[in-house]
Point group: C2
């Protein structure tokens, strides 16, 4: 390799992990920096938020993952900025780390389209901490509805509004509707079945717009069968603690969840490159920055336009393939001019709606219903790392499928013994 | 039954749960009040604190537990006081609840022997929230030791001091020593093996003083083999953020854990009864209060002197048997004069020290080593409620036994993305 100094990877998500793993036989020193101590299987995070899975079912300590890969050193820290002149990354807690080669895979947070103040009343779902917060809010909403006297107040607690009809929004809506009717209702004597509502608000003309229109329609029908109200062509113009202004109608709700937009990591601002609307960096066809051939950006942080068409979507398979591509370029020390452009092999997309309900687009095949759901289960269990988590997740799913008793319906108290609730 | 009005049970621990369950066929209305939404299997809580188990492995939503027992209503709330004149309990969030019959099973918190200010620097272990706090502290201590340059500072982070040589202290010390050397050491390149220390401080002349002296000695030897320093006859006279003053020696440590004493729930003060040193209420031989035959106190909150001798210890089997006894008295409406005194059937005590190491006193049999450990595993799995949790816990133990990779080694960020650490 013609680059001196260590390969620094920022972010232990799908992209960073794939890159580090693909470099396992390369004669390089790898430093993997993340602010969490674990890799997270984000596609199943909504199941932690809806009490079906435990955090430890879908997360792995990064140090343990690389225990048997001696060329990787894991650093737990926050990256403050990238200094391209000194070729180093600056950290919150430790000394700066110099790089010979840098792979930026910092991922994204939620975007509130310029209304960051909505976050407190409409939290999103990216980290384990987010998921546990959502779980607590959801479970406490049922408890509070039980406690209040006025039907109006109970209705507000039992109204769940999800903003954004992409995969996360659809999966959250389906899981919430199912858990509310099947798991919570039998446990609350004065459960106001009619007052429990799940609303899914989508700005565009259909949900799951990455799928073909007929699968969008099928997904919508499946959601509606579960009792979800799907509101299309509806823009959210305000969020408060009392609810959400959707189109011209104010919907009173104590539970507004955000699944509408992504904003790439703020670290990227320090690159001094033009960022596009979602905060992503435009990368070359080899995923490097213009004029900086050993600085790569991958995953949700990269705006990558391939020969095939528009920018690649923020999906785990994209990040994984990008990570592997970059690792190969580094391991073989390929100079800029000789690099083949990155090509994304699209193997399909899936979204689940509820028990035995999903939609999938796998190559030429559009699947829905039980078949799509089984494909979804199979693929997700397959991509979990290691026997322990595959086994635990499968067990929890079978358990929940049979009993409708979600395994992790727990409220922790946050602030000692007397939390505000 | 000759008492009108509902049976109110305060506390969904072992005692409260046993009482409610034993009343399942009685023609009574039962109201079970707890401030947590779950029953917790406290004997395994130290395994959540040491990252071996997930919270959902050892906790069950109370509502789900009583889903098929229609005479129980679950109320999630904090009990503020008992009003014996009006015969009702006052709650933090809801209207007071009147009782015909009251079973108080509120449990205990830690006692710092008049030094409540030590709690911040020497947290204890009673709730899931406590256990997750300890887990985070423990995991972060290793990360911080990795980050600092000075060996002195690393030593402070890698010194774990446990105050109290009872079962909780012994089990925590053993689990920490094991996890430090077997699970953490391989993952930290600059792990200072010599600097990693676990100290167990006991005020009395031996650890596990509820066991016969030879088992105490065996437990101590087993701990020492794991690398634990056991300090007997040592009183703790100060705790600060820098460490602990043990005897005349100040031990610098960033991780002081409290397992030394219990103080019964502060709710008991509202009973206007004399409380003994640990804050417990002296109950009659039928577990009722003097002159108030339908107000019972059970579990860790009760100071119950039976014909056999001293007060009963704060153990799950005591609470369970008390709960069942009280339920029987209530179901049959037995008047005070005709009640048989409560008799505790002591089936034995167990404490585990580490993988394949435990001590047990089962009737006339003193067991130690692998046999005691297998008995411990068997009994604990047996007492877990339901197939799901038995199965998950057994699976996690076998997994850990074989791989030494604890399943729940996760740090969540508490306050958004940039916690103090």
């Amino acid at each position: 390799m013609n680059v001196k100094g260590p390969v620094v990877i920022v972010g232990g998500g799908f992209g960073g992990l794939a890159a580090a793993h693909a470099l396992r036989k390369a004669q390089v020193e790898i430093i993997l920096i993340d602010r969490a101590n674990h890799h997270l299987f984000q596609p199943l995070l909504y199941q932690v938020a809806t009490a079906a899975l435990s955090p430890a079912d879908i997360a792995w300590p990064l140090r343990t993952l690389f225990r048997s890969q001696p060329n990787v050193r894991v650093v737990l820290d926050d990256v403050l900025k990238v200094d391209r002149v000194e070729r180093r990354v600056e950290l919150l807690h430790s000394e700066p780390i110099s790089y010979g080669c840098l792979i930026l895979a910092p991922g994204a947070r939620h975007s509130y389209f310029g209304h960051q103040e909505w976050e407190a009343d409409a939290p999103g779902l990216k980290t384990l901490s987010d998921a546990l917060d959502l779980r607590e809010r959801m479970l406490m909403a049922f408890e509070r509805a039980q406690r209040v006297k006025e039907p109006e107040a109970a209705r507000e607690y039992l109204t769940f509004v999800i903003v954004g009809g992409g995969p996360t929004g659809v999966e959250l809506a389906g899981a919430l509707a199912e858990i509310g009717r099947k798991a919570m209702a039998p446990d609350f004597p004065v459960f106001h079945q009619a007052e429990f509502r799940v609303l899914l608000i989508e700005g565009g003309g259909r949900i799951l717009d990455a799928f073909p229109p007929d699968l969008s329609r099928k997904a919508q029908t499946a959601l509606e069968k579960l009792g979800v109200t799907v509101m299309l062509n509806t823009r959210v113009s305000d969020v408060t603690a009392q609810g959400v202004l959707a189109g011209s109608r104010f919907i009173r709700s104590a539970n507004v969840l955000w699944a509408a937009g992504n904003a790439a990591s703020p670290i990227l601002a320090s690159l001094d490159e033009p960022l596009e609307a979602a905060g992503r960096v435009r990368v070359e066809q080899d995923l490097s920055l213009p004029g900086d051939p050993w600085l790569f950006v991958i995953g949700d942080a990269a705006h990558c336009v391939t020969a095939g068409g528009g920018p690649l979507p923020g999906l785990a398979p994209v990040a994984i393939q990008e990570g592997r591509y970059v690792a190969k370029v580094i391991a073989q020390g390929i100079p800029t001019g000789e690099r083949q452009p990155f090509v994304y092999k699209d193997r399909g997309i899936l979204a689940t709606i509820g028990r035995a309900k999903a939609v999938a687009l796998l190559g030429p095949f559009s699947l829905s219903g039980l078949v799509a759901w089984l494909a979804w289960c199979f693929i997700h269990v397959l991509f979990l790392i290691g026997f322990r988590n595959r086994f635990r997740v499968m067990f929890e799913w079978i358990w929940y499928y049979v009993t409708f008793k979600p395994g992790a319906r727990l409220i922790y108290w946050k602030s000692g013994d007397k939390p505000e609730r």
